[in-house]
Symmetry: C2
Subunit: 260 residues, 2 copies
């Protein structure tokens, strides 16, 4: 990586909205003040791809832009593919930070499981690299990311100086609009989706179903959740972990243990 | 659902290897002794699709088989799509249990994040339905699922009688072969993947990368992990949760809190 200076932090950027998304552009612009930036992002939108990986077809990485302190690859894969390929083949050294986003749309609560933005962040955490996924509560292509990037800068600065424990990433959701009240570290809200499918007939009179629906907060009274604080105008930061074990349940389940 | 008897448990089955997979057939055969079975499975293999959902195209559900106590749908979607569509549109009532698999290949450790089999189980847990994902340590199309189905029966029996806490699912991995030693409830092993990409040139002389590599156990000395017990010939049962919050980290991160 002779084109990158040696002593500045190396920051890998990905997303799931694709290489041309406004949220990615705003994020890269902000991150360049911190260090050398390599973007490895999908060549198209891969929303809702979660932690999916491409196992049946080969991946191609094309250099889309190269200048002092910035190198941009577009890749025909999922967000997790992009992070894997960058870390293992493209970067030449382990990055100091991986940042994903800024997603066009929130990823609070259980959306952490569906989101490709958070898939990229989780993949970095699996490789023991500090990582952050950013999302803005505005789904439009032309969303204004100015204020979101200012808050993202604050979080990036914190993580570059303090690090994160291995196997951990941050899920950061930012309310839309010009009036934000601050930032709060909170937990993942319990929730699910309701009225999930539109049911119609296609031109050949066959029934089809199209995913739709709305999010339902299952604990609207709780004030320490990501859903609550973004509804109050705060940026929500949730520390997330790779380990999905429910440790409390293990003793109760041990009566299932069986020795031949 | 007039074709299903009223008082027997209703069991929804999905997988990520597709509707014709031997692991699904063995699982359905076993489950029919417990209750009425509805299969909602992908029309093709959707391995490594994680918790991905289909948002840009419509879904079709085609009845592939219908007989007393068994109804089989094939769906042009991911495992999570199949579970969502079945629960919200096809079943008519909430199932008593969702079972996914039996996967052709293990899903221990961090594979819980990549696996479509576990995506289906996690989706049921989000809907507060007890669920189990089963995987066999044998990747071949013609794997023998006889013994795996016997152990799966033991776990299904336990969950139907004892239930699971809301937001929890079981990740069950079964060693291959005719000599199993029993079953142990354990935690998710720490691990990652190494040498992940084969790098070659295509017929047009362009570099491509193809995902490959091998799993690396990061705590080989630990004896309470899924990786360890399956290496010792035991079926590994890991209780997994929807909540990915790292609660221990919240107090340390609270110095990031910020009020305008």
């Amino acid at each position: 990586m002779a084109h990158l200076k040696n002593k500045r932090p190396l920051i890998l950027v990905s997303n799931d909205d694709g290489i041309k998304a406004g949220g990615l552009v705003a994020l890269v612009k902000m991150l360049r003040s911190f260090g050398d930036v390599v973007v490895a992002a999908p060549d198209q939108s891969y929303s809702a791809m979660s932690h999916a990986i491409t196992v049946r077809t080969p991946l191609y990485a094309k250099v889309a832009r190269r200048e002092e302190g910035l190198l941009v690859y577009k890749i025909n894969g999922t967000p997790v593919d992009c992070v894997k390929l960058a870390i293992k083949k493209l970067l030449g050294r382990k990055p100091d930070l991986v940042v994903s986003g800024i997603n066009h749309g929130t990823n609070t609560s259980i959306s952490v499981h569906y989101s490709g933005t958070l898939g990229a962040a989780r993949e970095a955490a699996i490789s023991h690299i500090p990582s952050i996924g950013f999302s803005l509560l505005n789904y439009s292509y032309d969303a204004d990311f100015t204020l979101a990037a200012q808050y993202a800068e604050r979080v990036v600065n914190f993580v570059l100086h303090n690090g994160l424990p291995k196997g951990t990433f941050l899920n950061v959701n930012i309310p839309d609009g010009q009036q934000l009240k601050g930032l709060k570290v909170v937990r993942q809200c319990k929730g699910h989706w309701e009225e999930e499918f539109i049911e119609r007939k296609d031109p050949r009179n066959k029934d089809y179903y199209w995913l739709s629906g709305h999010f339902c907060n299952l604990e609207p009274e709780a004030t320490d959740t990501d859903e609550y604080v973004i509804s109050q105008g705060y940026v929500a930061v949730v520390p997330c972990q790779i380990d999905s074990t429910n440790f409390e349940l293990i003793p109760q389940l041990e009566k299932m243990n069986y020795e031949l």
